[in-house]
Amino acid sequence: MPIHEKSLIRPENLLTHENLEIEGIDVSGHWSTFIESRVVTDYNEALEDEIAALPGGENIHRCWQCGSCTNACTVNALNPDFNPRFWIYLVRMGMEQELLRDKDIIWQCVSCHKCTYVCPRDVVPEGVMKATAHWLELKGHRPKSPSMLFDEVFSEQVFATGKIEEGRTLRGFFQRTGQSLTQDWLVEMIKRLLRHLPVKLMIILGLANVIRPRTRGWAGARAAIEEYVEEQETRQRQALGLDRPPATGAERPLAEAAE
């Protein structure tokens, strides 16, 4: 039997015919309104396995829907639509379309880990949120988030040299997120820095940018890390049924991401 609770009726599920006549009776407009069924007709067991294959999602199958995570959630306090308990359920039952309705807010988790501490079953909901956000990106439902782009710039640099050069990280991040290098706050910061004439710092920064020093004996570590990362990414792509590697960074426009 259909469930008609007004709050559950979605505008896209309302069907109305502008001109409709049934057995000689004009039922145009709202007289012909139908509410499309919201019936769940199947479970998709693959979805839970996909999320569980991504880092953080491993314990999703433990959830018994008590709602402690949502109760504790920092973001939920500001946005009642941010509901980890609900999304965990949608993933577990494979209600993918329902999950995608919230694709633009799932990534907003601030990783405060309050849910991790209250969860009686050690589901680690924060990890599940991270895995779900990652899943949305890998599947192309969302463009890469700024934090993902930052992580990429950061780790690419570490993988290459074993070191971090902040100026380079910042430039890379701004470039990939399409931000200007002459932002007011950055210009102001550099101006104030220059007032002190930090000659030694400028020499170090300058040299680091020209020479790009590496950690001694980094080649071996780099090979091991790259092998591991490749292995993990291949495993994740396989688990998600993706046969080609995801496009990187900002080169991937939103329109293509949504294909």
Partner: protein, 349 residues
């Protein structure tokens, strides 16, 4: 007591009472209506028991052996009592074959009857061959066959277990919780996942009542180690599209109607009062409580006492009961029969 104790019913409670009495030198007569001892776990072909995971035929079989081979226990199978009269310490029972037994006391260990799922036709039992009961799944395991769809013998890919079939349902006059079905269902779900790792198992529940230590050993374990899924929904009906069974209901957590295809639907059937309870009540002169189980005279002061002095009760005859609690009650009732009968008689004189 010189006279034997009459024990009615050879299940876990009755076997325990007979063994307990024999172990302190007391004779008993064990009357069993079926042709063999063991009660529901043996007669219904249960597989591995909760919580020991021992096979029923080994665990209960051992209890049968130590009673059947005991000279102090007079076992009468395929036998019933048709008349019962007398006072505590001096009862006379007339059996179906017209023989009589002089007994000092009687212990009713008459157990329960499995709920008949035909009484809930909307859930498809009796209409579709692939709708089965927990008892049938137990038999699939205990026979060594494994879980298969009865219609064509295929291995199911998706199984639904419906809880509270014949329990907690005013529509059919079953207002009690049958106590064991949640734990049994968790156990069955794990066994299915163990035998068929590609088969997904869904349990539809109103509440999960895996009480006490069964919580983590069954409910948690089934979720955490065996990935059994639990959905809070009382199923409205089970139909078929010609190929699969269609389970309809409301998923209360997402407030949406569901119509999900399944290969096999399992009814977690409850424990009814024994169908013979009205007869037993009139023969033994004991009162029944409101649900039709044999009424206990006291909760705290007298173990296993019924409304009639000298007649005691143990196990699932009093209401839905686990095997281990039935065993404890069988021992308690044996003690009460031994100690209580002469004392009650002395007080009466």
């Amino acid at each position: 007591m010189n006279k034997p104790v009459l024990i009615l019913g050879g299940g876990p409670a009755g076997l325990t009472a007979a063994h307990a009495l024999a172990s302190i030198g007391q004779k008993s007569v064990l009357v069993e209506k079926e042709d063999r001892l063991g009660g529901a776990p043996i007669l219904s072909g249960y597989a591995r028991l909760v919580p020991s995971r021992e096979w029923a035929k080994d665990a209960i079989g051992g209890m049968v052996e130590r009673v059947a081979g005991n000279g102090l226990v007079d076992v009468r199978t395929s036998m019933t009592v048709k008349e019962f009269s007398g006072e505590p310490g001096n009862f006379t029972a007339k059996l179906a074959d017209d023989s009589t037994i002089e007994a000092g006391a009687a212990v009713l260990c008459t157990g329960f009857t499995h709920f008949d799922s035909v009484s809930k036709p909307e859930w498809g039992f009796g209409t579709y061959p692939d709708v089965v009961t927990t008892t049938q799944v137990e038999q699939m395991f205990s026979s060594g066959q494994g879980v298969r769809c009865p219609s064509d013998g295929r291995k199911p890919k998706r199984v639904a277990i419906l809880l509270c079939v014949g329990s907690r349902d005013r529509q059919i006059g079953r207002e009690w919780c049958s106590k064991v079905c949640c734990t049994v269902s968790c156990n069955i779900a794990m066994e299915i996942r163990e035998e068929l790792p590609d088969c997904h198992v869904y349990i539809y529940y109103m509440d999960i009542r895996t009480f006490g230590l069964y919580e983590d050993l069954y409910y948690w374990k089934s979720q955490e180690e065996f990935k059994v899924k639990y959905i809070k929904a009382r199923i409205a009906e089970v139909t078929s599209d010609g190929e699969k069974l269609i389970v309809k209901g409301e998923d209360t957590l997402v407030k949406r109607p569901i119509t999900i295809p399944f290969d096999l639907v399992v009814h977690a059937i409850g424990m009814d009062p024994n169908v013979d309870n009205m007869l037993l009540s009139s023969i033994f002169g004991v009162e029944l409580q409101k649900h039709g189980h044999i009424a206990r005279a006291s909760t705290y002061s007298a173990m296993g006492a019924t409304s009639r002095p000298g007649v005691f009760v143990a196990g699932a005859a009093t209401g839905p009961e686990t095997i281990d609690d039935s065993i404890a009650q069988g021992q308690g009732a044996a003690m009460a029969a031994l100690a209580g009968a002469p004392a009650v008689k002395a007080a009466a004189e």
